[in-house]
Symmetry: C2
Subunit: 350 residues, 2 copies
DNA sequence: CTGTTAGCGCGTTCAT
DNA sequence: ATGAACGCGCTAACAG
């Protein structure tokens, strides 16, 4: 209960709280001696405001510590400047790299991101989408091309740009940025056959994209006369444990494989750990084909083979495709389909 | 260009678009045959609405595919249901685990999170905060206790709950959830001295909290008569490269250490990788003290020592502290200070 | 280049 | 238990 409560009509009235969340556009306008809309324009489209008033507004903004209310702004303009990003997890460097790169690029363009972690579940994706759609994001980035019917319907009726990442398909919702998992499977098969391997095994998670790769791998192997590929599959998400367990299972059987194809970097690291524990040499005793980001494992196992993916690059590609769509005034529904490709390497180097 | 464009005045008019982003509370109200405010209540406080109307509203919501506009809701209620979370990176399992756990728990309580990745920079933190404050988050979670003056000022004037995580200090902004890094440094020193080590080295990033630990470590060592602790420091964020380089530098000098204290799990893994490359045995040739989440490295090196931290647990603790504050109608500014503690372990097991 | 008017979609009063 | 009026803070559309 301050005593000095009487109205202070001095023009400066520097007694006021200067609360960030307290001051509005109108406060700024009063201090600057212009109308509210002019302040709005000075902030959002400086080029259409004279330098004089621009300066006055700048000063006023600083003086009252004004922070624009994006809820109000978004409501009025129907532009939330928000992008929703859905990934299965951020515990894999592939996805965390992608998320960081994506957020970074979008951030520079004035967009913020809101993350949805789906845990490889389309149900979780659906429920998260329901919640996040309430924020009226300007765009949505999804992982994979498998989604629930409701998800697809909501996405369609939302009318905003949608990116499906990390896979390719024939009936994308909108923008597609990924690579062919079947091509990966086939390439891995050919590559390893060429190196002379004949006894194959797969340790995999049951993730949809991993399944695609495995199928293509086995198909190609079969086509080349190699049958009887042993597969050990675990429910996603995988940890090192699954990799260790996978190798253990394979090793306890009679016909031991010469090479193990792993569905993820984490699985591969588990396999490598178990191999180390058993004193197995890579690749003499057992060759390992990793997938994703094997850079750290490669420090320990120079002879590691891998399908190398660059999460940060994918994030950057998504960002640029999205921004182009977002910034194009014309509502061009130009179909976008980017094949990010993949690298097949024998000697992974950091 | 559908032919049936003529106005369909039938009460059902099931021809309409049913656009998620198109339908509003009013549309739902019309279909349900109640007033807009009743729909609002049915959605937000079902307990004050009769079961009959509740059911009518439910049906109407489903029929038009209504998704509440949280921008409008937030503007009117001054509750964004948003929590801003700032971390240096999500490429470390410590932080990604924390973020996932935190988002999860907050999500169950109806809060969504918006992530800010600061890259260990208070400047970046400041600029991100400026942008995110515009969304009027209901709470903010920060990493560490070092912030720019402007950040502090904005935080204070925003008047919302603020959590500082991963550290303790004497003048917290608001809620504090962390542990004493000096205590860690001292404990590590005592522990290793007790095990008989005398020649110490440190490989570290220049992160503020790491510096605290190093200082405390060296102080304690000095106090116990161990001087001349060699330190190799790199700018954050660290990768495996820094760890490898660290060991290389230390090994090229004459007085080689018996034990290396690492400032992060990533650094430690780099050191271990370089040790492996040089054929050094852990801990016979060189003992390693890790920090953070060494669970995967421990698969390869059972004799690894480590300060173990549980990111998911920290995330959960933050969430519950925050939710308590957020849900308490009374504006209790009860100071909260949680010491999460840490574990010092010799044999890290997955 | 600047101002005026009129909402954006919802929740908070109050009333009934 | 339900409804009517008003305003949250901002920007779109027109003016001038």
């Amino acid at each position: 209960m301050p005593i000095n409560t009487a109205d202070n009509k001095d023009k400066s009235s520097r007694d006021q709280r200067h609360q960030a969340s307290g001051s509005t556009l109108i406060d700024v306008a009063k201090v600057a001696g212009v109308s509210p809309i002019t302040v709005s324009r000075a902030l959002n489209r400086p080029e259409v405001v004279s330098d004089q008033t621009l300066e006055k507004v700048r000063r006023a903004v600083a003086e009252v510590g004004y922070i624009p209310n994006m809820l109000a702004g978004g409501l009025a303009s129907k532009q939330s400047k928000l992008v929703a990003v859905f990934v299965p997890t951020i515990a894999h460097s592939l996805f965390s790299d992608m998320v960081q790169a994506l957020m970074d690029q979008l951030g520079e363009a004035g967009y913020q991101s809101i993350l949805g972690i789906t845990g490889y579940s389309v149900e979780k994706e659906e429920s998260l989408l329901g919640a996040i759609l309430g924020r009226r994001p300007d765009a949505i980035v999804l992982t994979g091309t498998e989604h629930s019917a409701l998800t697809r319907q909501r996405l369609a009726s939302s009318g905003i740009p949608v990116v499906e990442a990390w896979d390719l398909c024939d009936d994308p919702i909108d923008i597609l940025v990924g690579f062919s998992h079947r091509a990966v499977g086939k390439a891995v098969a050919s590559h390893l056959l060429e190196k002379g391997y004949r006894r194959f095994a797969v340790v995999s998670v049951s993730d949809a994209r991993a399944v695609k790769r495995n199928e293509a791998l086995v198909n190609e192997l079969n086509a080349q006369g190699v049958t009887d590929v042993r597969q050990v599959t675990f429910p996603a998400p995988a940890t090192l444990k699954e990799g260790r367990e996978g190798l253990s299972q394979l090793w306890s059987q009679e016909a031991r494989p010469e090479v193990i194809v792993c569905s993820s970097d984490t699985i591969a690291q588990g396999v490598l750990a178990e191999a180390a524990a058993r004193g197995l040499k890579i690749p003499e005793d057992i060759a390992v084909m990793g997938f994703g980001d094997m850079s750290s494992a490669a420090q320990l196992y120079p002879a590691l083979s891998s399908v190398r993916l660059d999460g940060a690059r994918v994030g950057a590609l998504i960002a640029s495709a999205l921004l182009q769509r977002l910034q194009n005034r014309d509502d061009d529904r130009t179909p976008v389909r980017i094949d990010t490709g993949f690298e097949l390497i024998d000697r992974v180097s950091a």
